[in-house]
Symmetry: C2
Amino acid sequence: MKNPWRKLKGKTIYSGFLGHKVYIDEVVGPSGKKSEYFVVELKDNVVILGLTKDNKVVIEKTWRYPINQEIWELPVGGIEAGEEPLETAKREFEEETGGRSNDWVFLGSHFENDGFCTAKSYVFVAKDVVLGKAENSDENEKIEVELIDFDKLKEMVLNNEIEEVRTKVAVLLYLNGG
Amino acid sequence: MKNPWRKLKGKTIYSGFLGHKVYIDEVVGPSGKKSEYFVVELKDNVVILGLTKDNKVVIEKTWRYPINQEIWELPVGGIEAGEEPLETAKREFEEETGGRSNDWVFLGSHFENDGFCTAKSYVFVAKDVVLGKAENSDENEKIEVELIDFDKLKEMVLNNEIEEVRTKVAVLLYLNGG
């Protein structure tokens, strides 16, 4: 398929302190008509399914402002410029949970909302995780780190009790041969 | 967990023609300090895994402007005010692909990027799909509808050849007992 989009001009309407930007582009789309396209540029991210020797998953309980509720999520972190996804995964996992592992496996990567957002997410499993003390470097996150049996988490994913897509997809990829 | 966020004030910096809005809120977060929070308010959406009697999946090839590439995706559509997710799924599936089914099953729902976006995604499988003529009501999308064997799509998901998270999670949920 040939690219059916043509950008005529663009303006940045927001630059956030976490590196995200909002653009409004004037485009000619597949219909041939001019329209506006709204794009959020965001860092790519990593998601970590960390498993201890006894098959427990390191999971976080946090309160997400945009959805105004408490939610269970696997650790996630933004990939900094020049970082490889695996480096980010190791760094973020240790910062957020204190966990370390010598056995990392890449499970997959994908765009998260390609209708308006540039970000790609990279999913890893870390096995034989040894827990330590979290640095909690991001003081503006309130995170409670907990351990949950993988089988219990799997059941929660399949029963629709996990409400966050990154956590779901990581568990499902691992379950199907990660 | 008690809500650790307090909104002091907010402003809307963008309202798009598809109903999405961008807010910049001034908040007090878990650290007790003031900061800015960037929120994208977006319609919730539905994702449809449509299967024909001979186990082929109705899939779309499209060019996504924000990521500037061609990509394979399951049909997706925004939930309009007052619509139930299942109604949207039936409507969008028929509009985009011409497909109809009398056998719909809900596979799960989840937030897609709860760090900045409000949207929840609802996943359905439609079985025994009968294909018709697409209305292609949204003239500003260039979509090529194709059929792919479910087993082939499954393989592509597990081999990381599918680059879009909604498609991955729908296939994986179905595969694990949908």
